[in-house]
Symmetry: C2
Subunit: 241 residues, 2 copies
């Protein structure tokens, strides 16, 4: 695999940091391929590696006696392994890839932590990402309490849409149900209404976003705040239309 250069990486965080900082990280970055269900870090085990995603979407989940519920979603706007940046070597959550083949720049957790400690500017941008991610998690908390299935599903689809190229999301109803902690058949029914509204096209194992504006209308205020925070703190993100 080629050595990644700042202008060529599609990771937004790497792209947004000062040249010097990227130069520090660059020798330690290895471009790798990730597949569906690949684990980025495991619940309560030492986080050895961090991943700057260049494509694809990861889910950070909290596992509740067998079941796992999503507390955050991560794509090329950030880096996995936030606990490492916060001085913890592990966390009671796990992270795994939710879609098929994608690429990422991998870096040893210890090296990233050291680099962040050594450079204030690097630290700043990484911690700003942490802030944006915290807002996302907080929004997930309020969404589960205040909005019902249609809003939450629309929100979730929008968050995935923001993080992929094109409009196709490879997702099964079952998976969405697990992430939202609802019943699978509830997802099926709600997807139908979204499809009837012309917002999406649902096919076996696949959801195609046809009208993002309509999805936004359904999601209402459940969507948008974390995305706004990211743009304010770091830079452009997500799909415009």
């Amino acid at each position: 695999m080629s050595l990644p250069s700042q202008s060529y990486t599609r990771n937004l965080l790497l792209g947004a940091m000062p040249e010097d900082d990227f130069a520090t990280l660059q020798p330690h970055l290895v471009r790798i391929e990730l597949n569906r269900n690949d684990v980025l870090f495991e619940c309560n085990l030492p986080i050895e590696q961090t991943y700057f995603l260049e494509s694809g979407v990861a889910s950070i989940v909290s596992s509740e006696d067998g079941e796992q519920i999503e507390v955050g979603i991560l794509g090329r706007e950030g880096v996995s392994g936030i606990p490492v940046l916060l001085g913890a070597d592990r966390t009671p959550h796990r992270a795994f890839m939710q879609v098929g083949p994608s690429t990422a720049l991998r870096m040893e957790a210890g090296r990233l932590r050291d680099a962040a400690n050594a450079s204030e500017s690097l630290r700043t941008i990484l911690l700003r990402f942490v802030q944006a991610f915290m807002v996302q998690t907080a929004q997930t908390a309020t969404a589960s309490g205040n909005y019902s299935l249609p809003e939450r599903l629309a929100r979730w689809l929008l968050m995935c849409h923001d993080r992929v190229d094109g409009d196709e999301l490879e997702l099964t109803h079952d998976f969405m149900a697990m992430m939202l902690a609802v019943r699978r058949s509830g997802v099926t029914v709600t997807l139908h209404t979204l499809e009837a509204a012309g917002a999406i096209r649902a096919m076996r194992g696949r959801v195609i976003v046809r009208d993002r504006k309509k999805l936004l209308a359904v999601a209402g205020d459940s969507y948008g705040r974390p995305e706004e925070e990211y743009r304010r703190l770091i830079g452009p993100f997500g799909k415009s239309i």
Copy 2:
């Protein structure tokens, strides 16, 4: 007001940090009194001050068109103004005191940020607190999705109980309902069942914890993970029995 010394402050974070770091902060700390509904920071406005609580409990809420829903709770185990530590000067949340008179050590946000940047050891402990708080927020997200009222209310009472002296919580049903984003009368009924079980004693504007073990039993796995994380990363916290 007297100048606070490390051995005298009841803030756990200040107590847990290296002497040198406390010495750096100490000249900038002012001991103040906080009253119910005092605002620690306002939604989307610059965070000027940070507060190391010594008693009392604050709620960090996300306001959703008039309504506000709790995304986190803070007591003497931490410091308010996490976004400042993460390089943001504001955040789409607000924080206010949920109980009556309590004391805190106040510090200008900029000074705390500078001190954290200057000392790696100080930064480490502060960011570890951020990690623990993130886990709490994540837990709030999963709790709203996976547990019903009795569990969530028990969890919430336990979290307050951890942060006050004694067993009395000054809380109205209305307030709890708002924090949990449920109906007020739902809280009333659920408190009755907790009272019938002997877990609490409910009075006008007041809840007294009578049997913490029973509360723990009701809360089940919805309670405990963030508290465990705090103990692992920083030190003792909460009530033992």
